[in-house]
């Protein structure tokens, strides 16, 4: 074994002493080297573990943040009368869903609905236009089309049964499921 210079030897000993307090004074050069290697490995492993834990924590926090954003946004997007154009509010809400979907591999079902005005078949088509508008917005944001199913229910499944804008506005919607 190659002799270490005195200064180096002293430094190594100091290191070893720092990590291996319990080590006996019966030190040999070989034991010194082994101890040093072990200490270094241990230090590396601990650093890696803590980095991994930190990354996992960060990812969990990010996931949680995305889920919270989705929960806050809700899964219903509303439309103006006879319109399939996404409102700014609907876009903001959808952005939250898109951020989460870009972080997982879930599939979604988009259900389009209308209010009771107009004929049932025309509304069936309008409900599909609304669901497609949401689908297209998600597609542009990178959600693959095979992950999205669209179904129109037209005016057949109202949330609010009565007439008048207060009820109608609740029924003109796309639900993400």
């Amino acid at each position: 074994m190659k002799q270490l210079p005195v200064a180096g030897k002293t430094l190594t000993l100091l290191f070893a002493a720092a990590f291996l307090v319990a080590c006996s004074s019966k030190d040999t050069k070989e034991a010194d080297a082994a101890a040093v290697a072990a200490a270094e490995a241990e230090a590396r492993s601990m650093a890696e573990r803590s980095a991994a834990t930190a990354a996992a924590n960060a990812a969990n926090a990010e996931q949680q943040r995305l889920q919270d954003a989705v929960a806050a946004a809700g899964n219903v997007f509303y439309f103006e009368y006879d319109s399939s154009t996404l409102t700014p509010q609907a876009q903001d809400a959808l952005d939250a869903h898109i951020a989460l979907l870009n972080n997982n591999d879930r599939s979604v079902r988009l259900e389009g609905h209308t209010d009771e005005r107009g004929t049932r078949e025309y509304n069936m088509a309008l409900g599909e236009r609304r669901a497609n508008a949401v689908r297209d917005y998600m597609g542009v944001s990178g959600i693959a089309s095979y992950r999205i199913e669209t179904v129109s229910y037209g005016e057949e499944q109202p949330v609010a049964y009565g007439s008048g804008e207060a009820n109608w506005s609740q029924n003109r919607r796309v639900e993400l499921k």
Partner: protein, 432 residues
Amino acid sequence: MKHMSALLLAALMLVSIGTRAQLVIEITQGRDNPTAIAVAPFAWQGTGPVPEDVAQVIDDDLARSGQFDPVARGDMLGRPSSQQEVFYRDWQAINAEYLLIGRVNVTDEVQMRIEYELFDVARQTRVLNGYEEGHVNEARMLSHRVADEVYQQLTGTRGAFATRLLYVSVTRVPNGKDYFRLTLADSDGARPIVLLESREPILAPSWSPDGKEIAYVSFETSRPAIFRQDLASGAREQLTNFRGLNSAPAWSPDGNTMAMVLSKDGNPDIYLMDLGTRRLTRITRHYAIDTEPTWMPDGNALLFTSDRGGRPQIYRYDLRSGATTRVTFEGSYNARPRMAQDGRNLVLVHRSGEGFHIALYDMETSRLQILTNTELDESPSIAPNGSMVLYATKSGDRGILAAVSVDGGVKFRLPAREGDVREPAWSPYMSR
């Protein structure tokens, strides 16, 4: 599969429903000078209890048409059931213009025979006599046939009382899934039979031209699909299962082709399905909404709704030339066309102001006449004789059926005692 078989069972069992769901007729508007007719109670010549008050069924049919004002039984001075028992002065005294009498018999406990005679009171002559025969279970339908004969004799128009209706009724379940039922009833709302019950939407019921089969859209697979169903056997068949819309089935007049709306190629377009080969032919090819196809009686053209001009209007597609022409121009909303057998009277949903009304569009004069004054009228369906239009409207929060004559003069409502009723489809003439 369990779900499917339960549905199929409901379809096959032809579950009869209680009177609460039955439609009740309320006549709201009749003609100014209806014909006064006395329908004397028919003599019961069988044994045991009378199977049906035949005269009352006829009386109600004639009253519902708005063209007759039947004499109340309490005002009648006699109860003749044969020509020898008819004393014209008794009927002149109560201003009856016509008198219908008849006799009912049942042989072998199942075979019913109704004989009837119609008299012109002023001229003191018999103007019509005949009989109807059939199974006693069909007593009401036999009675409707007598009413059809009387109606034709006195108005010159074939009667449409011995026909049937399809409609969808919905029982709401707050915070849950509604119950949807597809129901078949006589033209007066009597004898309702549930053909299909589902927790998912059922819509767009329509008839085959021979009145033996129906088609409709059911969401029971969690997506829309078109089904056809044989009324006698209950057997049914799923015709489509395409991605996107599968809707608005409409049988061609020869029964061989079904027009429908599919969006599998991107957006809603009209297609024809050959019912023999299942081959599809795409009819419209437009980025707009094309929907609600209906056939011209000669089978050579389709009418449909399209918003290709910005707002929904009626268009006509000629199957021979392939040319599409716009039909309606009046107002910002004309949709859901249904053509009368005369090829001239088109009924549709027309928006004026904030309301959706049923309107009649004359294909020859291009004149549009609004027939109803309620706000949310939809799904017009015209009687096979072209006299009345059945449609869906709202009464308070409830969906009900109502009817109006094509000249707007006669109106009646058919509210159910519970639930929402919608999408009426009047049958063609039923073959015997």
